[in-house]
């Protein structure tokens, strides 16, 4: 290995580490939650903790926003799949109460932060 080889290798390693930091630092965490019910979509920031009740086909679904995450805590469906989906915090994550026609999906504002087009469980 010549001196230039060593410098090339060291520089490459440095650039590689920078690449990891730059390309992988996007947290991929969501900033907002979009709640769609009866064909109407409302957007709420995840930064403010709150509970939101929306009217669906069967009745009210309750969505809780806490610590930058969102989840269903109540829904008038029989399966409760939406509640079992648990917390959503990664940009792109989506869950829905299909019987009640309510879709909850968390989104990030930065396109590069979105690591998935959609996530379901």
């Amino acid at each position: 290995m010549t001196a230039a080889d060593k410098i090339a290798l060291a520089t490459s390693l440095l650039i590689l580490m920078t690449l990891y930091v730059v390309c992988w630092s996007g947290s991929g965490l969501a900033d907002d939650v979009a709640i769609t019910a009866a064909g109407r979509t409302q957007i709420f920031p995840l930064s403010r903790d709150r509970r939101i009740a929306v009217h669906g086909r069967l009745g009210d679904s309750v969505i809780e926003i806490r610590s930058d995450r969102a989840r269903f805590i109540a829904s008038p469906c029989s399966g409760k799949v939406c509640i079992h989906a648990g917390w959503l915090n990664r940009a792109g994550a989506t869950t829905a109460c299909v019987p009640n026609g309510v879709i909850v999906s968390v989104t990030g504002d930065d396109a590069a932060k979105v690591r998935y087009d959609a996530i379901n469980f």
Partner: protein, 170 residues
């Protein structure tokens, strides 16, 4: 009519044949990530560059991409575009790297730079032509890691081969 061939032509044909053989053998290897492969044909390019100069390396590398794709059946497919753009990018970088004054780069440095240029060139083409999506950048670090590792590996192989070679450039 007889085409006049020179000794250089034969040499380039031999080296290209070696590179094509490696290229095809490698294309049969399974890979954990599409796009990541050892790129051992790089060894031949680097040896050609250091022994017979940049022009010969350009011939050997481009002949490998062309004939290799014809034999595999990937000519003008995206796979071919990627091979071709990678080869062009690494040849450009090799052309610049060998102009470094002083002792310059050895086989490992050349191979390392070529492998990284190959990967970066391919990546740009993928981004421009096939998947213009920011999410693609998430793949860049692991791909460049592979390029760095395989660049050093094939450079080490090239260095060992150059030591065994009796031919000394004029």
């Amino acid at each position: 009519m007889r085409i006049q061939t020179t000794r250089d032509d034969y040499r380039i044909a031999w080296l290209a044949a070696l590179a094509i053989t490696i290229h095809i053998a490698e294309s049969a290897l399974p890979s954990p990530l599409p796009g990541v492969k050892p790129g051992l044909a790089n060894v031949i390019t680097v040896i050609t560059l250091l022994t017979f100069g940049w022009r010969a390396a350009v011939w050997v590398s481009l002949l490998r991409v062309l004939a290799g794709s014809l034999l595999i059946g990937s000519f003008l497919t995206p796979t071919f575009m990627l091979s071709f753009s990678g080869a062009v990018a690494s040849l450009v970088v090799l052309g610049l790297a060998m102009r470094l004054p002083g002792r310059g780069f050895g086989p490992i440095g050349h191979s390392l730079l070529a492998a990284q240029a190959h990967m970066a060139g391919q990546f740009m083409v993928v981004y421009w032509l096939f998947i213009p999506n920011a999410a693609l950048l998430n793949l860049l670090p692991p791909f460049m890691t592979a390029a760095l590792l395989f660049g050093v590996v094939s450079g080490t192989i090239a260095a060992a081969m150059l030591q065994q070679m009796t031919y000394k450039p004029a």
